[in-house]
Symmetry: C2
Subunit: 330 residues, 2 copies
DNA sequence: TTGTATGCGTTATCAC
DNA sequence: GTGATAACGCATACAA
């Protein structure tokens, strides 16, 4: 492991017997500059031979901007959906010669350091930024797109609407809704609950009963949930179906039902959201809503690169990308 | 949005009535240079006022190295575990004044571009790199730590061993093992299977029967699995317990059992791995192995920063960090 | 084709 | 002790 110096464009220039300027022109295919083929080949060969890679920092310094796109995850827990989003976005961004880089937020205040280290050209925030962070990004003049998972800020919440419509389509009039109070998820839970309510209203259903399973999804008490289900289904006007914030809530609900003496879907229908991998293996298998994350990622990048190039914003995210996954719980 | 120029150290110097050198000395607390308090205050005030942030690229160019630590995810799907690992590692790294940045690998060949853009000081790879990638990192002289999720390359695979021991402790002598052939997961599946076999051997159990549920976890056929379970449990020497590569396989197994006329845990015990969130809500609730990802992340960073500072490698990852989560499926 | 200036922060060296 | 000058790191693009 000899501590060899970095290969710079000077090395290539010397090797090829030309100036550094020429090296730069050849390697960047500068259009305004014609280079004879023979020289070009010599330079290319030298670069190849020495395994030359331009120094990113120097390039960024000179260009005044970097090639990085920063993805800020404010705390949305990872699942298949986020996984696919990140995958697709990464490919999309790298196709433009840039790199997508993900930053997992712990302390919002650390954003300053991260920005200073990275100097991204662009930022995509999943979840909600606070005002200090927005100011920071604005001050650094980094165009930023804030987004929800599968929801364009201006698009309607099609997923939740689909849940309610599906239940109504099966004749259910009195619904329950399971939500969570996990703080990082507020940005998602609040609008989903609102959509559930308004869709039920539009469809002429009664106002859904709501239960908050608590702030920590892995620790949902199945017994407490069972007793809620008993209450909901026991009265004069029993709830016959439950829509859930996500598949984890739904799985808990499916686990709780038998303890309340309820059979699914006979006594109680349950619909989830997100189509997590394990949802295919609950008993009965969970009916849920799947979002085509690939097209959402493409839409998101469309919006982002529009911001980058001062193009007009693209239209709404297509509602066709939400599909009902019909299994056995409704 | 006035296209104001960036604030540079020259601006601060002018504002404070000193030279750029002095600004640098003050802002970096350079030990070899004494600065009187009055000057220091003036510089600090000016920097504050102008909201000065040093240009990362310029600094990196000068220093010859960046403050970035690159986390390369070669394709491990996101779940709670990875989520916690990333969270913890991010905090750990940022405590040292660096930034952890995550790169989701799509095309292994894109690593070259990413490295060129980022010039990370250090790399941590989750999953297996190919030789081209290793060469690339070596050539760029970026110290790299390759790792598995929860398994130090030199530590024994305690998790899988625990699974088998737990089943043996409950009197099971004939085991089945469920694995997957998803290519990105090979790095995990192969050693786990090997450990399952060797542990069974050590414990005097019969050699486990193995079934591969296929390359794509979300599409496991529950029916096919049910028929395998029938085979396994039907012979003269029936399998009485199944250990699974992960909780998803285990959930599929729990879903398949009733179709094979098997009751869990009465006729067949099932144990998973990873303690996914939904595992608490299967029926019966899944017994599984949890890894304390926080301590694993700390260990990983320990190892990584040792590589960085040429300190000796720390010891093995403590096996105490694996715990059995006893629920109802064994 | 090439010399040279430019972008920005850091630090060795030197002057007061 | 205090602070300024100047050179350096590397790639790029204009003028010659």
């Amino acid at each position: 492991m000899t501590p060899t110096r970095r290969v710079t464009s000077s090395d290539v220039a010397r090797e090829a017997g030309v100036s550094r300027a020429t090296v730069s022109y050849v390697l960047n295919n500068t259009p305004r500059q014609s280079i004879p083929e023979s020289t070009r080949q010599r330079v290319l060969a030298a670069a190849q031979e020495l395994n030359y890679t331009p120094h990113a920092a120097a390039r960024a310094l000179r260009a005044g901007e970097s090639n990085l796109v920063l993805f800020i995850n404010t705390g949305v827990p990872y699942g298949v959906n986020l996984s696919v989003l990140l995958d697709t976005l990464t490919a999309e961004v790298s196709a433009t010669g840039r790199s997508l880089v993900i930053w997992q937020q712990r302390d919002p205040a650390d954003l300053a350091t991260t920005l200073a280290h990275l100097q991204p050209r662009l930022a995509i925030a999943l979840g909600e930024l606070d005002d200090t962070q927005r100011a920071l990004l604005a001050q650094a003049r980094i165009p930023t797109v804030e987004t929800d998972l599968g929801r364009d800020p201006v698009s309607p919440d099609v997923g939740t609407a689909l849940q309610i419509q599906h239940l109504a389509g099966h004749g259910h009039r009195r619904l329950g809704y399971l939500t969570t109070s996990q703080p990082e998820l507020e940005r998602f839970t609040v609008p989903r609950l609102a959509t559930a309510r308004s869709t039920a209203l539009e469809l002429g259903l009664t106002r859904p009963l709501v239960y908050d399973v608590g702030p920590h999804l892995p620790e949902v008490s199945v017994d407490a949930l069972a007793s809620v289900l008993r209450d909901w289904t026991g009265g004069a006007e029993p709830v016959t179906a439950v829509a859930c914030y996500n598949d984890i809530c739904a799985a808990a609900c499916i686990a709780a039902a038998p303890r309340a003496g309820l059979e699914i879907p006979g006594d109680l229908a349950v619909i989830g959201m997100d189509d997590e991998t394990m949802s295919a293996f609950t008993r009965p298998a969970l009916t849920t809503i799947r979002l085509d994350m690939i097209s959402f990622a493409e839409h998101l990048w469309e919006r982002t690169s529009a911001a980058l190039e001062n193009r007009p914003e693209p239209g709404l995210f297509s509602s066709m990308s939400f599909t009902l996954v019909e299994r056995a719980s409704v």
